[in-house]
Amino acid sequence: MLQNLKNYYLFDRAEELVTYISTQYGWDEKLLNCYNFYTINSGKIIFLLKGNLNITGNITQIGLPVYKGEFPRGYLSNTFLYRFGPYATKNVIEISEEDIQPLLNREGIIIRDNYSGSGPQIVKIGHRILGRGWIRNGQLYLDASKIWRQNLLGL
């Protein structure tokens, strides 16, 4: 039961969100069954939490940020993809070590001609999730923050 969570409330389109995630990435919907989705007053971030909250403090964040922007116009957060990305069975693009550098430099890399994925992609390399990607004109781009990219480039 929620108490004194004046800025957070249960996200009332959770079912739609789970369906979207399952459809886009081929996840088993049961994977997210045991979690609750919360959002804040602005509706721009959706969080995932297991179990109930019954604390009264000045809450600044609950659980894991899942989705940024107003659903369905926003996108799944990279933090969510790092955690649940390995369970995805579609719209996953596996890249090679040589692809990392151009992606971090915001350059596109050419994807194979017969690739059938569409919409936001999960970019992975081996067992590691690099983040959210987009396909534009036959090329894959990585959607990652400047700080994240600079850290990885060792700048």
């Binding site: 297991k50 604390i55 964040q61 894991l64 933090t79 790092y82 390995p86 983040g131």
Partner: protein, 309 residues
Amino acid sequence: MNKQPYLDYEEYVEKYRSIIDDFDLFLDYSRKPLPKIIWTNLLKTYPEFIVNLLHHAAVNFERIDWWEGAFKVASDFKPGNTIEYLSGQIHVQEEVSMLPVVAMNPQKGDTILDMCAAPGNKTAGICLKMAEEGLVVANDIKSSRVALLQNNLSRLGFINVVVTQSDGMQIRDEDIFDKILVDAPCSAEGNIRKSQWSRRNDSHSLSFQPIQIKLLNRALKLVKKGGEVIYSTCTYSPDENEVVVNAVLQENIVLQPLDFPDHFCYSKGLTSWQNTTFHESLQKCGRIWPHQNDTGGFFVAKFKKLLSF
């Protein structure tokens, strides 16, 4: 009134000569750089993948056998620039600061408060050990530190955690928490191997004592009957450790033995310091000196609350 002189590290720690088993070795280790520790986020990956990373990067490492998936790595390795770190598959934490989590022994289903949580290293360890069965409340007082805490917990991908920003003494949720960690603000004398010494006088430690006692008392008030409170600092001063612990002991607040790993060396808590005598049970506390395990310095105490008050 005479003002106390500001002291360099070696002058300052001279007062601890009588309570350190090998003072010269202690000084030697205090000058050495601190070994780097990384641990595997078992919710995201497997230790063997991290071993592959270390092999691939030609990094010398050894396993820490008392923490699954933890490795002591060569000090020139920069894990912060790896995909594994940035995607939360690994975390960097000082070895000795993992001990409060070991002492707490979080169980699946527990509700736990980390009262002074930022930057979140111990919170992360607690979340990991609970395997997301239960709830962790990670609190800190400062907004800049709370931001750091949130970033770390999000990067690691923990779901069963709530971050709050409050003065620990203002937390009102009584009888909810099974366990509470008070990793108290302190003079950080035990951090000499990782941060520069700021010259200080002998009264420096005393300035932390009132807040330490208040936070610990608050935690003991908040925790459920039968619950446990872990008190820890990264400092040597008995004024911030045994004096604080002794001040909160009562008939229904007792100290518990520390379940540290078998071969981890530490010294018992003091039962006297200068002209003050403490309760005999303070021997159950643990003092970790840098030379004992090649770590930083730390102090840990574990309380059990027998009755509500």
